[in-house]
Symmetry: C2
DNA sequence: GTGTTTGCAAACAATTTGCAGAATT
DNA sequence: AATTCTGCAAATTGTTTGCAAACAC
């Protein structure tokens, strides 16, 4: 159960740290492979999952059936462009009161909520 | 491009109408097959997609990598149980003001937001 | 040396698609 | 008759897993 050091894991983390655009596993793979030609997609998936599990990165799901990963684990909102699929950060404060409102009259236990926004990004808007 | 009538589509819709628990395509398939033994999974998928596209049903994505479908297309919030995976409705009013707040200082165009809640459902809570 | 991690390939799950025939209009 | 829809099987996509060898401690 103890973690051992691995160059592959390091470079995956290092790559993620350079990006603010929430890459997918495949993007991570293609980029890390440039400095690590033999790395396998399986290793990338394993490490992304591991890093997300121990909280060093965040796994982001925005309804496009592909997981995105974020080096920034602080809570913040995301925006997904319906046209190009890009994912970006939004700079508005997180509100929790909706969870509390939802908890009223609900018999289960609400642990949290997921919220993301969608629309067209600035880039796509200016194209058409 | 014009729709033609189909018994299969009817029975898919009819089945969905009886359920409040947001079944997956596979659940729809297994149930509709009881009255329609020859229906294929492909047909179920095609019709669910078609019905969702024309707005007669809603496709729900709650981060569990399976699409759920809802006969109720009115806007409402959902809860997903992290333990058993069930999806249920929440009876709290929809708020839109978060989208407006997000739009400020954001250059793209925010068209909407997705919010769902997660935790443990009443059923799972009472089991342990 | 023991246990973790890797590369590779095969397996998997959910969904989509090509096609020839059947059903609807 | 024209077009949509179906069943079937194969294909696709994203992700996970089994295994023997390589690596870290």
């Amino acid at each position: 159960m103890n973690l051992k050091h691995s160059k592959q894991r390091d470079s995956i983390k290092a790559f993620l740290a350079t990006r603010k655009d929430h890459p997918t596993a495949d993007v991570v793979y293609r980029n890390v492979r440039e400095s690590f030609p033999n790395i396998s997609l399986g290793t990338v998936y394993r490490n992304l999952t591991l890093l997300a599990d121990i909280g060093e990165i965040a796994r982001i799901r925005v309804g496009d059936s592909v997981d995105h990963f974020d080096y920034d684990t602080s809570p913040h909102y995301h925006f997904v462009c319906s046209e190009c699929g890009c994912v970006m950060d939004l700079n508005i404060p997180m509100t929790e009161h909706l969870s509390k409102a939802a908890q009223k009259n609900f018999k289960g236990e609400i642990e949290g909520q997921v919220t993301y926004f969608y629309g067209r990004c600035n880039n796509c808007l200016s194209k058409n």
